[in-house]
């Protein structure tokens, strides 16, 4: 079983029905979990080393552990699957949502049992219409089979699950912004603390976990924490969905052991660069991660190793920059996205991101000055972690700060040549 997460997903684009999912062992993990104490479930997930696959990489078991439990805990708690995949260049949760929603539903059930939640939601981005169809049918099947509702699989456990389809905005992926969106409000992030695990949706304890994270949960409960830990190459636990886009020979998505090297993903799975194009750099985990270059290709793609070379694993989906694409133009495209998607709540982000975009725009048009590079560097400090309300602006600064260092000459050429050299 080298691809436990995706092994049952069909090639024809149709999703697994309840019968098909049960035939490959589906909902057996749930039945096992219902005989355990909630705390035991959380311990198994903690021991497996599972970390959040949405980008931040927070240990899943540790998150669950902070939810109030016992007779004094609030009677209503919520469990939410974050299916608002909108990180530029990321297309991994789509496969799990379209291919096997029952696996996600089982993960939600197990997580909800561990924190003793009463209600659950799948927060899905509007654009994933095929996923919405698949999830809607699978939720209906799960209710009919007694996996959702009252007395789940004959136990005393009770959980309702509904699908919420969003109406846009990248910021909804931030967990506190997501809660505001679910409450029908503007999706501005909330101040933390209090954390959602204590004071979340409608003021109740709430867990928000990424889709890929939750799809791993049934596998961990079936096969054990040790098994999961051994799946990875570098000891962080599990496999990972890695993707590649840009001018590579075979853009795509692959489930590989966590810690597979950047070089292996690029050269073996993505087939290397397209003929006529040279590798120049890569964003290893979506639009809000720092660029890596040739010298970093042997880095194992796990949380610790990618951080050690100055970037982040993020969503694990590579965006490849080739020699015929302008790095300044690429960063301009990213900053324009972040400026547009800023919720406007805090000043550094609301003012800083459009300013950054304008400066990059003028560089691209050939009207940039050397002083602009200093201002861009200033912006990367001005919007650094701790100076803004949430992680959007610091994330936006990651590709910029690394590009300014790694592709400094290319920035300067725009100024000296009074035009974009790639035009």
């Amino acid at each position: 079983m080298d691809k436990p997460l995706t092994q049952h997903i069909k090639k024809d684009g149709s999703w697994l029905t309840l019968k098909e999912y049960e035939a490959v062992g589906g909902y057996q993990a749930l039945k096992k979990v219902l005989t355990l104490a909630p705390a035991e479930v959380t311990t198994i997930v903690t021991d497996s080393g599972l970390k959040g696959r949405g980008g931040a990489g927070f240990p899943t078991g540790s998150k669950w552990k902070t939810v109030p439990m016992g007779p004094d805990a609030p009677a209503i708690k919520y469990f939410i699957a974050n299916a608002d995949e909108m990180e530029p260049g990321s297309f991994k949760d789509r496969l799990l949502l379209e291919g096997n929603p029952h696996q996600l539903i089982e993960g939600i059930l197990i997580g909800a049992y561990a924190i003793q939640a009463r209600f659950s939601y799948i927060f899905l981005r509007w654009a994933y219409h095929q996923a919405a169809k698949a999830i809607t049918q699978c939720i209906r099947e799960a209710y009919e089979a007694g996996y959702l509702g009252e007395h789940i699989a004959g136990s005393d456990f009770q959980l309702d699950l509904s699908l919420h389809t969003s109406v846009g905005r990248y910021i909804c992926g931030e967990e506190t912004a997501l809660l505001n969106a679910l409450e029908g409000k503007r999706a501005n992030p909330r101040s933390k603390p209090p954390y959602p695990t204590v004071h979340g949706l409608f003021g109740k304890p709430t867990i928000v976990n990424n889709v890929e994270t939750l799809c791993n949960v049934p596998l961990i409960l079936t096969n054990g924490a040790d098994w999961f830990m051994k799946l990875s190459k570098t000891g962080e636990g599990g496999t990972k969905l890695y993707g590649a886009s840009g001018r590579v020979k075979k853009p795509g998505l692959w489930e590989l052991p966590l810690g597979t090297s950047l070089r292996e993903i690029l050269e073996e799975h993505a087939g290397g660069m397209k003929d006529g194009y040279q590798f120049k750099g890569v964003l290893p985990g979506g639009g809000s991660t720092d660029f890596l270059t040739e010298e970093h290709l042997d880095v194992p793609m796990d949380y610790k190793s990618v951080s050690a070379v100055g970037s982040r694993l993020g969503t694990g989906t590579l965006i490849v920059l080739d020699d015929k694409t302008c790095p300044v133009g690429m960063v301009r495209n990213l900053e324009q996205f972040f400026a547009q998607e800023s919720c406007g709540w805090c000043t550094p982000c609301r003012e800083g991101l459009p300013w950054t975009t304008k400066l990059l725009d003028s560089l691209e048009k050939g009207t940039g000055k050397m002083k602009d590079l200093d201002i861009l560097t200033f912006q990367t400090h001005y919007m650094a972690p701790g100076n803004t309300f949430c992680a959007l602006a610091p994330g936006a600064m990651e590709p910029l700060q690394s590009a300014l260092k790694l592709f400094r000459q290319d920035f300067e050429r725009h100024i000296h040549e009074h035009k974009c050299p790639w035009e």
Binding site: M86, G89, S90, R169, A187, M330, E341
Partner: protein, 159 residues
């Protein structure tokens, strides 16, 4: 005298069904806007006032939510809404040439609707199908691996 609510009975019933699922009426604001848009393609000022009445909110509070989300349309849109991905992977793969081709064919720019009301052209952030860039959504259909050669034929299939 309060003016009559301009929402239809069908819309009002749907919205009322939704807010019963929430601990407070105002939580149904986004869902209510979605219902209205499904019935009329976009959300007019009158519709905002109608929803405000049902949810016991001020029209301004409803509008602050409506204008926040980019897939709630506060201006009329055509019969077919084209959402062109303009994020990074599509940019690398040359989406701008495809977009230019669409703009020329329809003789409109982003944010505009053709005179015959057939198409509205908008952008959308990353569609999560980057291994098949460039991509767009028309109404609810995803179209991938777009080129300047195939995009016109795709659009022609939408009346």
């Amino acid at each position: 005298m309060t003016p009559e609510n301009t929402l239809t009975d069908a819309e009002i019933t749907e919205i009322q069904t939704i807010f019963r699922h929430f601990p407070e009426k105002s939580a149904a604001c986004i869902e209510g806007l979605k219902v209205i848009q499904q019935h009329r393609r976009w959300v007019s000022d009158e519709a905002v006032r109608g929803l405000a009445e049902i949810l016991e909110m001020s029209p301004a509070a409803i509008d602050s939510v409506a204008t926040y989300y980019n897939l709630i349309f506060r201006r009329p849109v055509g019969r077919n809404v084209i959402l062109m991905c303009n994020s990074v992977s599509c940019w690398i793969m040359g989406y701008d040439q495809v977009a230019a081709c669409v703009k020329r064919k329809l003789a409109i720019d982003y944010g505009e609707t053709t005179e015959d009301d057939r198409y509205t052209l908008l952008t959308i952030p990353c569609l999560g199908t980057c291994d098949h860039a460039p991509a767009m959504i028309v109404n609810e259909d995803l179209h991938r691996d777009l080129t300047t050669e195939n995009v016109a034929a795709i659009l022609n299939t939408y009346e």
